[in-house]
């Protein structure tokens, strides 16, 4: 039974990370129809920058913010400098973002090398917690990570449902042409949403580097998980990303614990199943 609880908690940890990574991806896709293949690279960049800042300043919070900002800036630059010029041509954007991710991954390998990094944890988060009821001990950072994902999820929901900026984003998802016709600066909105998505990815990168570790290849792992999460949960919806992340994270950990050599198949099976029953994803809306 202890194993089951631990595996469930591991699954929730992973789900929290996947949620953080996938919401940005899903948001960008929902608004702009851009499949940002460089999303994993943005996440890894955030992680590396966060690590370097934590090493330099010793402050974990500063590292998370710096990682988020670095990835936000990189995301805004990518949209402003490259993807924005081919808006509407989705295949070209996808290919261009693949090129960007290849270049970014290679330059990061150059600068940070091929070693695995783990961010030094602050005192408060470094130990473990004995959980009441379940009777198992669990790392504080991972519990904090779940709380962090919850907070981000709620904040994002508030931003999208309750603020003016969120209303503009939702309008853009529903009818981009009308939003443009009403005179909204769509280019600027796109760049800010890209920055927002990048920031979420960058923060996820720092958190991933704290709770687990990061290395070259982490970008691919999170790009894939983001893809599967939004395919399962539905594109462009925060709730969908949360549900998808939960399913994928838990399936991956149960798979790893109970059928170690076929773990990857579980994730994949969920995706195929969802595609067969609901091609638009569990919480996604059907394309017109």
């Amino acid at each position: 039974m202890t194993l089951f609880f631990i595996v469930t908690l591991n699954g929730l940890t992973l789900a929290a990370l996947y949620f953080l990574a996938a919401t940005g991806f899903s948001l960008i896709f929902g608004l702009m129809r851009t499949v940002n293949m460089a999303h994993g690279a943005l996440l890894l960049l955030g992680g590396y920058v966060g690590f370097s800042v934590v090493e330099a300043t010793g402050s974990w919070g500063l590292g998370v913010i710096a990682g988020g900002l670095a990835a936000a800036l990189a995301g805004a630059l990518v949209q402003f400098g490259i993807l924005g010029w081919m808006q509407g041509d989705e295949l070209r954007q996808t290919l261009a973002s693949i090129a960007i991710s290849i270049i970014m991954a290679d330059l990061m390998l150059w600068h940070w090398g091929g070693i695995t990094y783990q961010v030094t944890l602050p005192e408060l988060l470094s130990g473990g917690q004995r959980l009441p009821l379940l009777g198992v001990g669990y790392a504080s950072i991972r519990l904090a990570l779940m709380a962090f994902a919850l907070v981000i999820g709620v904040a994002l929901w508030f931003l999208i449902q309750k603020t003016r900026f969120g209303a503009v984003i939702r309008a853009g998802v529903d009818d981009q042409a009308m939003l443009r016709a009403l005179g909204f600066p769509i280019k600027r909105i796109f760049i800010s949403v890209f920055a927002l998505g990048g920031m979420l990815a960058g923060m996820a990168g720092v958190v991933a580097a704290s709770a687990l570790s990061i290395a070259p290849g982490t970008d691919l792992q999170f790009l894939l998980s983001s893809l599967v999460v939004v395919i399962v949960g539905g594109m462009g919806s925060v709730g969908g990303a949360a549900l998808g992340a939960l399913l994928v994270g838990l399936a991956e950990q149960y798979g790893l614990a109970y059928a170690p050599t076929y773990g990857a198949v579980f994730t994949f099976a969920i995706m195929v199943l969802v595609l067969a029953v609901r091609p638009q994803g569990l919480l996604g809306r059907a394309e017109k």
Binding site: L91, A99, T261
Partner: protein, 322 residues
Amino acid sequence: MKNAPLLAVLLALPLFLNDFWLTQVATRALILGITALSLSFLATYLGVVSFAQAMMAGIAGYTIAYFGPNTVAIGWELPFWLSIPLALVLATLAGALTGLVARRSRGIYAIMITLAIGVAFFYLTRQNYSLFNGWTGFSGVRAPQVFGLNLRAPVPLYLMTLAVAVAALVLVAGFVRSPLGLTIQALRDAPGRVRALGIPALGPIVAAFAFSGFIAGAGGILNVWYNERISSFSVGLGPIIDILIICVIGGLRHPAGAFIGAIAFVLLETFAVDLIDRDRFNTLIGLVLLAIVMLAPNGLQGMAAALVARLRPRAATPKTSI
């Protein structure tokens, strides 16, 4: 046969090239071209960009390794005249299954789903030891000896690869002119109308993916003989992206683009060392890809076609593109 002179030159290549050029450049480009052809076939005629071609090629390669001579003591040995058809059948099946999963998806959705399939297969090969031997994979895979002729020797390997490449191109050309091939192109151009005519879409889509799996499988078999080993790295994101890069550089709108792109890719890979640090090859290829995507979306083949059309404005018939 307007391509006869080109074919004659290609057949005569072993007379001019040394082993390095013949094997490392010409043969390798042809093998990559065959696998890339399976993608540009799908992209050109079904309008779907698939990231699962490396998976299909990998399944054929793993089948050859598992059922052939290898040095890791996994699998059992079958004669090559059994293992080759088996590999092709499995690759075709993998293609059909991919088509079945991605049947309702177009455009970017198809990209995401096939990418997820491709990468999931990569993780499976890395985790699983009973069938795929995990990280290490299979080594010591040998091409068969036929009538005392070693098919891995430079000239036989080149000629065999050339034959397969020509056969694949002829097959593609024949396939797209068949009723099934026409249905596939109709599905690309006007899926709604095809359904309105009462033609079921599932069969043709699955068939197109299966056919591309067959071609990718042929490339995969040659590739495992060429490399004499296969591991999870042969089906990872690197090869997945390489196949795509080859098609994009060559041009995604024409089957020949696959081979043009493969030659450009191999030349770049072989001689990039002279230009930049070998470790930064990925940056170079990423920049090339970015430049092609931004400046010449139809690739080298598209550039050449546009150039020809400009030089002979009257003689050339305008090519209808999608």
